[in-house]
């Protein structure tokens, strides 16, 4: 049995080496994969370097600002950049579609700016030269070209009857052909393996990298089973080819886009601009933090006066304007976060709807799995938004604390009187050290694995379903 399988696999290999088409297709597949890995790696490393440098620069310029009124630094703001994860060189995911830098300032949550896609050529709307796209979409097509006739060819030339009449089981033939195709997968995944090893050396977790590779392996296994089974079920080469082509169009071209369109329709998301109006309405109730005389802060004032047992804000040991700024920033951030969380959960719900289509097409399953494990999915972008928000809140409140503690109320009130008073209403530049270093990394390996659970299940379901189908097809062909 084992030797028969190997003999059949070897025979298939010999056939490919003789046939120019198979050899050309195989060479093309390996070439495409290698070039995509190289191009994307170079690009990602460039981006990584660029953004890390910009981040340092932003931190440096912030801390190097001269003595100022602390609230000026709240408006001066800070920039945060999303550095790509190591595995993003294999699947850049949403990186080019979301902005990769964000301006952090007081009183506002800005959206990410400068999505690469907006400065792009729009040529890569159908596909781009990244390994994920090549392996998810193009390699299955090449596998079809190599394998569509694997069994139907033997049937057309009557050799299948000959093999079967010698007592070889049809399942042996199927497994043999699968073995041959498995070698093709192995060959095509070599560049990905090498690249994944490099990412592990550069700090990616071994478990994530291995799961990533395994996911792609399982995905391509789905395809080769599909191809060999189709070739076994159809009586003619041309039929097998037609059906496989149709399946490829359906899985790779139609279903993913139907998934995204369906998701957008079934979970409408208002967008930031629209929810901002509600934010504004709620904020108005909170009062303007720039204006300590705003009636909204009367209660805060009364509390403070009572706490320090004084009669007027001038007598307070702390700067009342700073206290108002800090308080209103905290309340405002609560409102902003509420809406931001709502928006993110809407987006996530959309993505979840799209991901359910993984039960209908293995391409959707591998896309999800790949982006999540590479740390380039929408979840990672949301975490970037949350972490930058935390960073924003931290430095703004730290500056407000400086405002409260280090600047007297009198000096603060007189800040616009004349040049001297303006200089008096400043604090030392040493206070700008409150800024925390920002270093964005992808989700922890365990988390990414957890998120990718259902995508793995979808791929396993595909393999299991195809194996069950194999039993029926084999019985019919026997």
């Amino acid at each position: 049995m084992k030797s028969q399988i190997i003999a059949i696999a070897k025979d298939e290999w010999r056939y490919w080496l003789r046939s120019k088409l198979a050899l050309a297709v195989l060479t093309l597949g390996v070439l495409l994969t290698v070039s995509s890995v190289i191009v994307t790696t170079v690009k990602t490393m460039e981006l990584d370097h660029q953004r890390a440098e910009l981040q340092n620069q932003a931190e440096q310029t912030f801390t190097e600002q001269p003595d100022r009124h602390p609230h000026r630094m709240v408006h001066y703001g800070h920039y945060a950049f999303r550095t790509p994860s190591p595995l993003s060189r294999l699947d850049p995911g949403v990186d080019a579609f979301t902005g990769n830098s964000i301006f952090l300032e007081g009183h506002r949550q800005n959206s990410a700016m400068f999505a690469d896609q907006r400065q792009g050529t729009a040529l890569t709307k159908l596909g781009s030269l990244d390994p994920a796209f090549i392996i998810q979409i193009l390699i299955p097509l090449l596998l079809i070209l190599i394998g569509f006739s694997s069994i139907s060819r033997e049937r057309e030339s009557q050799t299948l009857t000959f093999i079967l009449s010698q007592g070889v089981s049809i399942y042996t033939v199927i497994i043999g052909k699968l073995m041959a195709m498995l070698a093709v997968i192995g060959l095509i995944l070599v560049p990905i393996l090498v690249s994944a090893v490099v990412t592990v050396i550069q700090g990616e977790s071994l478990l994530t990298a291995m799961s990533f590779l395994f996911g792609y392996f399982a995905y391509l296994v789905v395809w080769i089973i599909l191809i060999v089974l189709c070739s076994c079920a159809m009586s003619k080469n041309s039929e097998s080819f037609g059906v496989l082509m149709f399946v490829w169009i359906l899985f790779c071209i139609i279903v993913p886009r139907v998934a995204s369109t369906t998701a957008a329709i079934s979970v409408p998301s208002a967008g930031k601009l629209e929810s901002d109006f509600e934010v504004i309405a709620q904020l108005r109730k909170l009062g303007d933090g720039h204006n300590a005389a705003d009636p909204a802060f009367a209660k805060l004032k009364a509390n403070l006066l009572a706490q320090y047992n004084v009669d007027s804000i001038e007598e307070l040991p702390v700067n009342f304007r700073g206290t108002v700024a800090k308080n209103s920033e905290a309340e405002l951030t609560n409102v902003l976060n509420k809406f931001a969380e709502q928006r993110m959960s809407e987006e996530l719900a959309q993505s979840q709807v799209a991901r359910q289509f993984g039960w209908l097409s293995p391409v959707v399953a591998i896309r999800t799995l790949s982006m999540i494990l590479a740390g380039t999915s929408i979840e990672t972008h949301h975490r970037f938004l949350r972490e930058t928000e935390a960073l924003r809140f931290e430095f703004v409140q730290a500056l407000n604390q400086v405002h409260i503690d280090k600047l007297s109320y009198q000096d603060d009130m007189n800040r616009n009187v004349d040049k001297e008073a303006s200089n008096q209403a400043r604090v030392s530049a040493q206070n700008w050290q409150v800024l925390q270093d920002f270093n964005f990394t992808a989700d922890a390996p365990a988390k990414r694995l957890q998120y990718s659970f259902w995508a793995f299940m979808q791929l396993f379901m595909w393999i299991a379903a195809l194996l069950i189908l194999a039993v029926f097809i084999g019985r019919r062909a026997q």
């Binding site: 910009l54 950049f81 596909g127 082509m245 071209i253």
Partner: protein, 443 residues
Amino acid sequence: MSSLIKSLRREWAFMCRQRYILLLLLCSIVVSGFAVVSGINEVNEQHATIERLKVADEIDRQDAQHKHDDFGMLAYYTFHLTYLPPSNLAFAALGERDVFPWKHRVRMLALEGQIYESDTSNAELAQIGKFDFVFVISALAPLFIILLFHDLFANERANGRFDLLVTTAHSPISLWGARSIVRFGSLFVGLLLPFWIGANISGTAATDVFIVTFACFVYLVLWTLLSIWWGRNATNSPWVASGLMGVWVLFAFIIPILGDLAINQSTHAPKGGDIVMVQREAVNDAWDLPVTTTMDAFVATHPQWQDYTETNSMFEWKWYYAFQQVGDQKAAPLAQAYQQAAKNKYDLAGFVSLLSPPLLLQRVLTRAANTDALAAFEYETQIRKFHEQLRHFYYPPLFKMHELEASQSGDKELKQRLLDTMPKFEDVMQGQVSKTDTVSNTN
């Protein structure tokens, strides 16, 4: 003539008995129908969003105008909605609207700090791309054509009917021509019918419908001829289809990807981050610079205000808005280079698309639907223009309020009288010269 009709009728009857072809035709109607329905849905959603935004924007602005009397405060707290409504053809070509923003709120602060904000949809969905009509025609339809036509001859040869058919037919045209026309016609109608219905619902201009129909016709005929020609001598239909698929992959993926790489390598653009950095530094440094430095830079581009630049206090709104504008001026060279680079890339991509029919079709149709990058650039120009009008609207009350108050006449309150002349984005959109333009020209 009648023989041709007879042949057509025969081939039609023949086709109706081929389940495989009927399935493919049904499939083409379904995918095209889905694309059109979802496209219309998306466009309606965008229109509805704009309407809701307009209402909310108006309320918010009224509120700000009610709350503040000082024009400095008014300018600071009043936001203005700008938007790019989808055209009547947008349902068929959603284009770049999921990447470029089509709604934006701006105020009188430095524009460079505001204009790069984006309020786009879910990035993960944008990355997959939309399933719109243009996608169906440019990417999917060629595959259907390949499936329909690659075995036109090979199938008959493989079945051993080829010689019989050729000898019994009147002419090759009446046989293969009629068969091709029937197949092509059915596919073409199947693909375009949902579009025609959608165009009717959306009120698309007849010329646009004609352009789209014509472009699709030419494009699909080209693929059909290529498929027939490629398979003219073949006996092995999978070989023909493989070759045609190779051509499709070349056109749809390889050429665009190589073009994209080449263009990105050859075009150098300033980093977006640098623009906002320059703008921020300029605006923030201005607080510590002498007022005259800012005012000199401001007056250099706005000479009409040179007699109104003296300040009496450490903070005056006119100075504040002057340094906002100076910040924009400092960032302007970078911003222009950034925009120019994007335009250059768009132009270069035009040359690449000449080598790739699917891209060319996408480009032509998204242009017709005004949903391409060019439309987004145009929208950005409109925002810039509107922002300029807004500045010129606020400058008189900021710089010479006393004069305005002195010359006041009529019963209306000055504030209201001024607010009545506030520029509207709709005027910019329609290319009209706003009232403020004339006001600032007379200054």
